[in-house]
Amino acid sequence: MIQTHALTTNTLWNYVKSRYFRLNLITVTLLIGISLIWVYPFIWVIFSAFKTQREMFTAGATLLPNEWNWENFKAAWVQARFSDYFLNTVIYAGAATAIEVVKSAMCGYVLARYRFPGRNLIHKMIMATLFIPIASIIIPQFILVRELGLLNTRTGVILALSGGAGALYVLLFTGFFSTIPEDIFDSARIDGAGFVQTFRLVLPLARPVIGTVIIFQFLRTWNEFNIPLVFTFSKPELRNMAVGMYAFRGEHSFDWTGFAAGTVISIIPVLLIFFVFQGFFVRGLAGAVKE
């Protein structure tokens, strides 16, 4: 892009004549077209949340509601118990993300910096289990949680959410910590820093990876359907929002506008998280996959 202060008629004309200008005209037009289709379902959900049931079924492709009506949000929050589900989702995603970041940072650090008996075995097992479809292990996970007496409790859901994943995150941390220059560790050792001090010294450097893990794990647990569905079967009040939208399914009908409001409620916090951490995002992954 051209700098504004250097924007004389001449340089502007040169830029307009350049092939990058023509490339941009074509690409940006194309991308805007695709973007409109891409976000259409989004915009549709948001506007539907303000429609009445009747308008919803007659609107077809029309997006804007006739009049803005906030009743649906009230219906979703109160009648459909999204107040409960929202709280549950926050607890599940928050706790599972915190556990995930801590355990994978610690494990990744040790794997990246130290040689000890069992290191290769752990590393190889993590790699191998990265490629196992989750459908195959949910039954024993269910039985383990049941044997621990944690079925239909929040703790059980959180344990299952933070236990099943993690292999990829450990590899991200391992990759990042192996790229930290030797000198930092050497000088820490010369200064007499012990094991834990050294870890606390280099942990802030891993901010990009931490940001990445937070976004990925938060997204995964916020949107998780399978685990909360199975682990809170007989306690509907412990459902998260993704499972809780079943509350909009009536005996013979489906409350579409309430559902749209529920969806809007559930996506706003995630968008916030993404905007806060997106600066770290790509950089973190880049550092992590260098290995």
Binding site: V28, Y40, A112, I139, P140, L159
Partner: protein
């Protein structure tokens, strides 16, 4: 005319392979653990290992073990049936239906989403492009909708009577005479394959942002000076992509490929809410089959469901191993 691109390619390739070689040599250093640090090392591993053993390793072993029993998950585990579960699965046409659908879904899904997201990632990392941040956000956005909710949104949008898609195609654009029942009986040109095709398209739309981010991260590993040097040699965008970008990101690309395939094989929530496996098992997938056997049949058939999981997992493992074998073969043939 043909001579010039070859010299450009050779020039570029020499620099690229030097870079790859240098990176391979730079292996990270590991301290040998001494004294009290042993305690710390294993203490640091403990939280991960406890959860990993409890929720990944043990479940893997247990699934294999359960698969030899007829078990409802409640009574004691004592009805050993040997390979009976496996025989029943092999004779069950529903399983094979689900298996076939899952394989078709996973391969098509991967073949569509990976090249497209790579293309978009390359485009959205070009320095000259305007509104990069905006477009990145747009392509990332669908991933914030829970998969299950996305499924429901599309049951409405694709509805033949009230949905927006048919409304646009029939009334606004006039492309169709009558609406298509995308998730039901289908219509021209794909007939009864529409439900599975819709499932694939929606899943690509939903997960696209994640793979775009993976690719963008991989692209950051390509040193800018290689592009600059290539430009001086007269390389165009295609040369840069084929001779610099792709060779450098290949190790990461292989990991992304495997992740993409395995994640596609897990498809569940979208199927449940979009089609419930229907119509007539046309979108029935293995994870849904396992779920039905384990949790919605009476009595629960945990043993049988475990056998399904094992059979499916082993098949996937074999497929991945074969794929890995060919990938490593082509790689060693190249270098």
């Amino acid at each position: 005319m043909a001579a010039r691109p070859i010299t450009i390619r050779q020039q570029i390739s020499r620099r690229v392979s030097a870079r790859i070689e240098a990176r391979r040599r730079a292996t990270p250093y590991h301290y040998r653990v001494k004294g009290l640090d042993y305690v710390w090392v294993y203490l640091f591993l403990l939280p991960f290992l406890v959860l990993y053993i409890g929720f990944t390793l043990w479940p893997l072993g247990a699934t294999i073990y359960y698969s030899f029993f007829e078990w409802d998950g409640i009574r004691p585990l004592e009805n050993y049936v040997g390979l009976q579960n496996y025989r029943t699965i092999i004779d069950d046409p529903f399983f094979w239906r689900a298996f076939k659908n899952t394989v078709i879904f996973s391969i098509t899904n991967t073949v569509v989403k990976l090249p497209l997201s790579l293309l978009v990632a390359v485009l959205l990392t070009r320095k000259w492009l305007w509104f990069k941040r905006f477009f990145r956000t747009v392509f990332f956005a669908p991933i914030v909708i829970p998969v299950a909710m996305a499924g429901l949104v599309f049951t409405f949008l694709l509805n033949p009577a009230t949905g927006a898609v048919n409304d646009i195609l029939v009334n606004n654009l006039g492309l169709l005479d009558k609406p298509i029942d995308f998730l039901g009986s289908g219509g021209p040109p794909f007939g009864k394959n529409w439900p599975l095709i819709s499932l694939i398209v929606i899943s690509v739309w939903q997960i696209f942002g994640q793979y775009m981010i993976y690719w963008m991260a991989a692209l950051q590993n390509v040193p800018e000076e290689l592009y600059e040097a290539a430009e001086i040699d007269g390389a165009n965008e295609w040369h840069k992509l084929a001779y610099i970008t792709l060779p450098i990101i290949r190790p990461v690309a292989i990991v992304i490929l495997f992740l993409a395939l395995v994640n596609a094989l897990k498809v569940f929530g979208l199927v449940v809410t979009l089609t419930s496996g229907g119509p007539g098992q046309r979108t029935y997938v293995v994870s849904y089959y396992i779920y039905n056997q384990a949790f919605s049949s009476t009595p629960f058939r945990y043993g049988y469901a475990s056998a399904v999981a094992v059979l499916f997992g082993v098949t996937v493992l074999i497929a991945v191993t074969i794929q890995g074998y060919f990938v490593s073969k082509t790689q060693s043939a190249d270098s």
